[in-house]
């Protein structure tokens, strides 16, 4: 259990390879070994959703995923959405609608919104509230987040 494994994965479209302990949390691998601190830790037990990322197209809490499980996986983090420095339409909508206040839940909230919009292109308010119920925000009361997801313009 004390020996590291070679972890090969694709992160935000880039092939990466790091040596990590098999049971290291994917969250720590991203933040520390891969230099992507945009993904946040809020609770460390899969409750708040701040560490949400997309793994092979699935929304996961990266604090609950052991590194070994991410072998060969394709990951998308908050850093992967504005490639080339241009905010994507969802990010623009979050800025325009004030969907981020303190910003700490935001990376996870945005990834959860990406996941929701992939499953349902034009969600109703109720569908958005259900789709984002795994991500806790303490600042906004969620109204402006709902506005942002509804206000996405390509």
């Amino acid at each position: 259990m004390d020996s590291k494994l070679q972890l090969d994965l694709t992160v935000n479209g880039e092939r990466r390879s790091v040596a990590v302990y098999p049971m290291a949390r994917l969250l720590d691998v991203l933040r520390e070994d891969l230099g992507l601190p945009g993904t946040k830790e809020g609770c460390g037990e899969g409750e708040c959703g701040a560490c949400s990322v997309l793994m092979d197209g699935q929304l996961v809490n990266s604090c609950l995923v052991p590194a070994v499980q991410a072998q060969g996986a394709e990951l998308v983090t908050i850093e992967g959405l504005a490639l080339g420095g241009e905010l994507n339409p969802l990010q623009r909508a979050f800025v325009a609608c004030n969907g981020a206040q303190c910003g700490f839940c935001t990376p996870g909230m945005v990834l959860a919104s990406v996941d929701l919009l992939r499953r349902c292109a034009h969600p109703s308010e109720a569908e958005i509230r259900e789709g984002l119920a795994g991500n806790i925000c303490r600042c906004t009361g969620y109204v402006k987040i709902v506005d942002a997801v509804q206000g996405v313009r390509p």
Binding site: R31, P37, G42, E86, C102, T106, Y142
Partner: protein
């Protein structure tokens, strides 16, 4: 800390970027791309990590500290109270009273009290080491709640377990209670509440020679600065405090970061390496400050028509084991205890009591939500006792211009609280729903419906002479590229200060937002503009920023760099030329007490606040009488906050505050055993998700701009915490009133508590 890099694809070229415009949050793009730098995101070469060994008992005497086997202790940096003494440091956290040690010295006064600090580069080993430290303790009897503290079964702190007592008296102390048409008495209780900022507390410290630098998640850079200068007995310039991007605070990063900064800095001093301490969620919830639990006993006398004749309040807050901010939390609670009502005879006795529990502290509202909850609940219960409609009871008693508040403060603004209430109730369709629900609720279904409301106010800025003592300073200075930089110690923690201050300068000088930059909150760069608390940043500090900006413009005109009138380009050019010729030009502005404001700390008489924000909140609920769950179906938040500087950001403040207020009322329960929080996890401390809340409907009235606020703005941040709890309890009671007499008097109303209240009402 935010670098305002440019992002393609974001249009900020709005026509009006000044006051009243919903310009987008300045630091939005950084927060949306993961570029914002929070304390845990910083990469620091040579950095090691710190952890804290804490007490498991509420009260005891430390007999020995033992370091268990199997840990290479020689690799660790270790700090205890003995080391603090040996270094000649001062083991007291600077606050109102110097009674709290950085590390327990001999005596433990509350569970989770810090005893030993450890630092090491390997975090896994560090965690093992923390568990291997054995603190041998002789346990002593503990005082764990308000009733035990008042009974003084065991001294904890203060005099007779009182950290502070306040008496507010108005009118006739010999009021003839026996002659009043109605006398209503009641006791009301509220529980502790965790701020639950999504970013836990964290701090990094570096020491070079005898100079200390800390960077962290914090609200009040100068509080931390003072705490570190006292701890290390250093002159001010040798301590530097910088705020990193801060992932929410709500009061929870007002005073606690002083302790955490001291811990990180002592470890860094001893280790001679940078030290970072980041609390995990369980530690943060267990050991940091909470909203004070409260007990209010109210007695009111009314005439036959329901006019308030006299009011007595016995208001008690559980301060925890040390004084910390409790005296000022108590003060705000006491001053708000009468609510927005006219009453000729008032006696408010307020006490902050000592218990062997982790100190409670600042949380949005700062004592006012507790006392206002009691008074609003009491008014609803009194209305029912007198057979009066709760709206009518408010109508007969709401403050108007010319009335005197509890401290004798004269209402000078053209206040139309009745109109505000009527408009909020119309927004909710209160009367229509009330009648319809009354018919629905006697039907057979298990789901009952109700509506309720609350009317309240929140004093803006520091209490009494607080702002005068702070004497805050801000500055505006020139930059070489023709832009201006605002110098203020106010912190951005999500509320929108960066954006709002920019708009204030933009409006004052007629220049676009992108010509204004905010200096990072770094005590080496910015003057002390006071803490970011008390709904004071926009109204008080924003006004100072406005004055400094206008002052700088005057300097440019007087020194003939600028001729008025001028457009933005001429302004930019003038700044550039002035900067070349004179170097950095800075204009500072310092707070001065406005004439006409009088306050006496000794008698608690006078103008408690320079102005107030006023509000009426209405709520509709459905109660499932099988599960006793309460669902909030609709929420109306209507308020008078003077001029709104940024309507979208302001609405965001209200929506978030309402969500926290509903949480305090319905879901958020701090469970303890022997003085330790036992549900210190997000799994079982329940806050609202998007699915638990309706769309909160926010309405601003701007009928009474505050003459001394920037553009007429008042304070806003805390107000929305005050109203939801009493309104939602009124609504629950409305939904269940047909089941028989039932008075909800305690927060939170969990399904278990609701079932108990219903059974008690039935006499089961």
């Amino acid at each position: 800390m935010m670098a305002h890099s440019r992002f393609v694809g974001l249009d900020r070229s709005m026509k009006n970027e000044g006051i009243g415009s919903s310009v987008a949050r300045r630091e939005g793009p950084e927060k949306l791309t993961g570029k914002a730098q929070y304390v845990a995101d910083q990469v620091l070469p040579g950095r090691i990590y710190g952890v804290t060994v804490r007490s498991k008992v509420a009260h005891g005497r430390i007999l020995a500290i033992r370091y268990g086997e199997g840990i290479p202790w020689e690799e660790f940096t270790i700090v205890t109270a003995k080391d603090i003494a040996a270094m000649g440091w001062h083991n007291r956290v600077e606050s109102i009273e110097p009674d709290q040690p950085f590390l327990a010295d001999g005596i433990i006064n509350h569970a989770e009290e810090p005893i030993v600090l450890l630092a090491h580069a390997d975090r896994h080993l560090l965690e093992r080491a923390r568990r291997a430290v054995l603190v041998e303790v002789e346990e002593l009897p503990a005082v764990l709640d308000i009733d035990q503290a008042l009974a003084c079964v065991q001294p904890v702190g203060g005099r007779d377990n009182l950290f502070k007592e306040i008496l507010i008296e108005k009118g006739d102390p010999g009021f003839p209670w026996a002659q009043a048409a109605h006398v209503v008495e009641g006791e009301y209780r509220t529980g502790a509440q965790e701020q639950l900022y999504i970013e836990t507390n964290g701090m990094t410290a570096e020491v070079e020679g005898h100079s200390v630098t800390v960077r962290g998640s914090l609200q009040c850079p100068y509080y931390v600065h003072t705490a570190l200068t006292r701890l290390f007995r250093l002159p001010g310039p040798q301590v530097r405090v910088l705020q990193m991007d801060t992932g929410g605070a709500f009061g929870g990063k007002e005073d606690y970061p002083s302790i955490l900064a001291g811990h990180a800095a002592m470890l860094a001093w001893q280790a001679r390496r940078p030290v970072t301490i980041i609390y995990d969620r369980e530690e943060d919830m267990a050991c940091t400050t909470k909203r004070h639990p409260s007990r209010s006993r109210l007695r009111t006398a009314f005439d036959a028509e329901g006019r308030l004749l006299a009011m007595e309040s016995d208001f008690v807050l559980d301060a925890g084991a040390y004084t910390t901010l409790s005296p000022v939390v108590l003060s705000r609670g006491a001053i708000h205890a009468l609510g927005p009502y006219r009453c000729p005879n008032v006696r408010i006795r307020a006490r902050a009591v000592a218990t062997h529990t982790p100190p409670n502290g600042a949380f949005r509202g700062f004592g006012a939500p507790q006392s206002l909850f009691a008074m609003e609940r009491h008014m609803d219960i009194a209305a029912a006792r007198m057979g009066l409609d709760p709206v009518l009871l408010r109508r007969r008693n709401l403050l108007k211009r010319g009335d005197l508040m509890a401290t004798g403060q004269l209402v000078t603004e053209d206040l139309d609280l009745e109109g505000l209430m009527d408009r909020a109730l119309a927004d909710l369709d209160y009367q229509g729903k009330r009648a319809a629900f009354a018919r629905h609720n006697v039907g057979p279904g298990p789901v009952k419906k109700g509506v309720g409301f609350s009317v309240f106010m929140h004093g803006c800025g520091f209490t009494g002479s607080g702002e005068e003592h702070l004497a805050s300073v801000t500055g505006v200075r020139t930059l070489a590229d023709g832009r201006l930089e605002v110098l203020a110690a106010s912190t951005e923690m999500g509320q929108g200060k960066e954006t709002v201050f920019t708009q204030i300068v933009s409006e004052a000088l007629g220049i676009p937002n992108d010509m204004v930059r905010m200096s990072p909150a770094d005590t080496r760069e910015v003057p002390n503009s006071g803490p970011t608390v008390a709904s004071r940043s926009t109204m008080v500090v924003g006004k100072l920023v406005q004055d400094a900006a206008l002052g700088l413009k005057r300097m440019l005109v007087e020194q003939q760099f600028l001729a008025e009138p001028c457009g933005p380009e001429a302004f930019r050019d003038a700044v550039r030329r002035a900067h070349v010729r004179c170097g950095v030009m800075t204009c500072f502005s310092q707070y001065q007490q406005p004439p006409g404001l009088e306050w006496d700390d000794a008698s608690y008489r006078g103008d408690a606040y320079p102005t107030y924000a006023w509000a009426c909140y209405g709520v509709e609920v459905r109660v499932d009488t099988v599960t006793w769950e309460v669902k909030v179906e609709d929420f109306v938040a209507r308020q008078e906050v003077g001029r709104v500087i940024n309507p979208v950001l302001a609405a965001g403040q209200v929506e978030g505050g309402v969500a926290q207020g509903l949480g305090w009322a319905l879901w958020e329960k701090v469970e303890t055993a022997q003085g330790r929080m036992v549900n210190n996890q997000m799994t079982n401390y329940i806050v609202a998700t998007a699915q638990d809340l309706p769309r909160i409907r926010v309405y601003f009235e701007e009928n009474n701009p505050y003459a001394l606020g920037p553009g007429g703005a008042k304070g806003l941040g805390e107000l929305p915490m005050d109203g939801p709890a009493p309104a939602v309890l009124a609504a629950i009671q409305d939904a269940l009133g047909h089941l028989g007499p039932m008075d909800l008097r305690e927060l939170p109303v969990t399904p278990e508590r609701l079932l108990e209240a219903v059974e008690a009402g039935h006499g089961l």
